[in-house]
Subunit: 323 residues, 2 copies
Amino acid sequence: MSDYPTLAQIKDARKTLGSLIIETPAQQWRDPRLLERIGDNTEVFVKLELFQLTGTFKLRGALNVMLNLEQKQLERGSHCRQCRQSCHCHRLCRKGPWDLGKSSHDQNANPLRMQLARELGAEIILADNPHDAFALVKKIKQEEGRTFIHPFEGPLTLQGTGTAGLEFAQQVPELDAMILPIGGGGLCGGFAAALKQIWPGIKIYGVEPEGASSMYQSFQQGKPVTLDHIDTIADSLAPPKAEPYTFSVCRRFVDEIVLVDDDQLKAAMRNLFHELKLAVEPAGAATTAGLLGPLKEKIRGQRVGIIVCGANIAIDDFNSLVS
Amino acid sequence: MSDYPTLAQIKDARKTLGSLIIETPAQQWRDPRLLERIGDNTEVFVKLELFQLTGTFKLRGALNVMLNLEQKQLERGSHCRQCRQSCHCHRLCRKGPWDLGKSSHDQNANPLRMQLARELGAEIILADNPHDAFALVKKIKQEEGRTFIHPFEGPLTLQGTGTAGLEFAQQVPELDAMILPIGGGGLCGGFAAALKQIWPGIKIYGVEPEGASSMYQSFQQGKPVTLDHIDTIADSLAPPKAEPYTFSVCRRFVDEIVLVDDDQLKAAMRNLFHELKLAVEPAGAATTAGLLGPLKEKIRGQRVGIIVCGANIAIDDFNSLVS
């Protein structure tokens, strides 16, 4: 078995996902205000993954895991049938650390995201912190015989997220560089694997919040690290630690990771609002913050892709961040 | 000469516009919250025209007028050459009642829209009200030998806006119904003409603000009317009067016009923010307000298209409208 998502596996994942996900649009960002900043001869193409069902790419990875479970374990009953049913209504069965982790991350769960998950049929149990949340999920898994779907780790998850890269490569001309957000690395690893196998000459840049730099530090130390402390407004990009499979895939396909701070994320949210008419949460602005900040000179004059993903934010929160 | 934009003319306009406009994406709106409101078996496809350069469809009509001027009058010099240059930099030459009209509409011009126009090289002269603005533009035209580009009236303008309809018909499956916003009717007339010639069975619904219902009243009276009074938050859909050509094209291709009030527009802005992650000005939410309000029962169970267009709004204004 390959130790990274191959193109064949990613194409299989796309077939498996079928019409449970949508092909999100891609768009060239040609606003003159952007081009003044990064140069007239720079071309920026945007994968609008925020239009994915649920507002995030995560569906691609999670459903790919669940649909594979279903096929292999259908006759074993209970949670599998539940999976089938849930998939078909876009209701994920109790998802484990997604919401548990999110909710407990800062002791003050993002209320909108919990509400949306509940509306889709999820049951949410709060833990005191992300580490406890992962432990709680293990306990639930054992006691109730449930299946644990990790928020970013694992081959099937990355094969699923790779489908976004596969799509993008069919939507835009060959790119010199791609900028991807990194939280756990699930999106970045899968997307980068797809693009680099299609266009081997492409440079892949990861963007991580300064206050939650688990992958950046893992790259520096050569092994997945656990963070003591997390402090960023980009709560969707702030898992407590890097995991081995995702780390190894990112290390293989990502050329460089850069960091952005909260002010850069807020400024990028304003740019996306004014120039692309998009209302995103801080994590959704990470690639734009990288493009206009630490990567600005590196990508000048190139044909570069970014992904905008993550738009589960309440209007008041949006306003208080961008005003 | 045909008294409406023919498909052949609209296709010619698309060639004329070339890469000065972009093909904006189309997207199915599959959020479960939407489907709960309008029925699981209703399919809604959205033309994301707010991603057009400048944030609005108006470029399609205005450039089509200017590029045709240019070809016919190139040897006559002065303003024509200016047009060519302006087109190529996406700088419209002094545009007349667009900004004059907009700016004077409520004695309190939309500052963001004026700023954006100035950044693109426009010179803006304020008038006291929309009627005075049109008069002032006539005076400038005569005194300075400039060409007047009407904001919505005229065959070339509607052939230009028709290109958005042509595109949409290639992007989505055959529709039962299309919902279009109406201000002056320039977008609605061209778009409706394209779709109804491609799919003769389609129903076309227009949506107009209750407080600026010039086309609705014109339909009732059988002739273009002038409004005494305008009162709506959708300032992009509020011209002082209907014009004869646009009126006749809308009358030919639009089956019914419905009205929405300011509260319905604000609610639709919130829906677009939460469910499609889009930050639009009130005019950009008109078709959504129609879909979820007066047209809700009529389109239930159908395959229906809407267009989202108009996103030139400041963050503070957005917040004060949707909070």
